[in-house]
Symmetry: C2
DNA sequence: GTAACCAGAATTGGCGCCAATTTATGATAA
DNA sequence: TTATCATAAATTGGCGCCAATTCTGGTTAC
């Protein structure tokens, strides 16, 4: 009860401060609020997230370990600017991993899983109309997480999530085009269709197209 | 000249202190000096590596992010104890990734690359006789790095290196059996053979066997 | 004899200060 | 007018202190 009370009294103040600074910074990089190449001055971040210096530094160190921000010793940190080659390389890795477990996904699929995936795909659809960029991103993440979970390899789910975070800084802004979003939404449903039909080659084809964000071939 | 002088005067004192604490800790975890489940008390590490408290904490934070050590809030850090399932899952990921780029490795291979790989494989052989566990481990890493580099995907090389670090804490001690080491050495040469012959199916088979550390089938 | 409890010791983890390095600014000389 | 250097401002990054929490050992009550 006391918990409800505090939440009622300060509905957006207390919980905000308790959020991890790393996640907040990650959020702003992923949404493009902090664009690629931007300098991440410690004082600015300290004020922006209303936190202490060590917290900022821990967040910067963690994200530089994940290669999301670049560390220039004695000069500062800046949002990583990824070239086309690295983007392609990361996409290749995702294609190999996700098509590589497609057979297991087909093997392990159940009617309940199909229903869950359809629900998540529909949730993504709805986010196209209302919902922020980040909510949209999260909905997409939830769908793919559930899809990969069918492989039965939870470690792989984590690895793909990490790898995915390395490349989205630019593409998230590309998402703004409505055509691209609607195509992604359609692909989600097509993937569930292929999964339900047990059509392994088609599922692989769709996964590759979806990751590469290539125009879909009828 | 002054650089040479200092190196001459203190050949193993100064450079030792300048080494990153994270690498030192990683080293001790990988070699099994700090066994799985061991508690990593900050004071102990501070003395062991002759460094300051913040350095220790940064190393622990980094390795916990990589899921090499487990963080129990307000209780401490301990070397991650991985169960059989996770070990199998990680092996599966490596098999998918490394066999997934086997075709590119065959396509991109050159006589010079073959020669380099043969050299690295021979270096591994020699480490079987003389050389510490870690030197052996490094030689193995160098071979596989060069092999994967043939895929032309440098990002993948990094990813595999990271993933590999998640599972070796136990197997490194398994390496102590001479039979297993000699088999690995033989497999290295067989992989180069298959690569030279352009035998893709055989290369894939060898990679999978090698990663799974299964007894080789003639 | 066993279990619960309470103080003392030890460990973790948050926080700010200050030195070292780099960048910006302005003055001086060519 | 422009280049160069010196000085000042700002930023990074190393380090130690101290509060909060947890663990340990001994004592007391049942």
């Amino acid at each position: 009860m006391s918990d409800d009370l505090t939440e009622m009294l300060a509905p957006e103040e207390k919980p905000e401060e308790k959020k991890d600074v790393t996640d907040l910074l990650l959020h702003d990089i992923l949404t493009g609020t902090l664009p690629a190449g931007a300098w991440l001055k410690q004082i600015d971040l300290e004020r922006r997230y209303d936190c202490t210096r060590p917290e900022v530094r821990r967040a910067l160190d963690r994200l530089s370990q994940r290669r999301l921000v670049q560390h220039n010793p004695n000069r500062g940190y800046q949002v990583y600017e990824l070239d086309d080659q690295r983007t392609r390389e990361i996409s290749d890795i995702r294609v190999i991993l996700e098509t590589g477990v497609a057979d297991r996904m087909v093997a392990n699929v159940t009617p309940a899983a199909i229903a869950e995936l359809r629900g998540l795909a529909r949730q993504f659809d709805e986010m196209s109309f209302r919902g922020s960029i980040m909510e949209h991103y999260d909905a997409n993440l939830a769908f793919h997480r559930a899809l990969l979970m069918l492989s039965g390899n939870s470690e792989l789910v984590e690895v793909v999530a990490e790898i995915r975070q390395r490349t989205v800084s630019a593409p998230v802004s590309q998402w703004r085009t409505r055509a691209r979003i609607e195509q992604s939404a359609r692909e989600h449903h097509l993937m569930v269709d292929a999964l339900e039909a047990g059509d392994l080659p088609e599922l692989k084809r769709l996964i590759e197209i979806h990751i590469r964000q290539a125009p879909i071939k009828a």
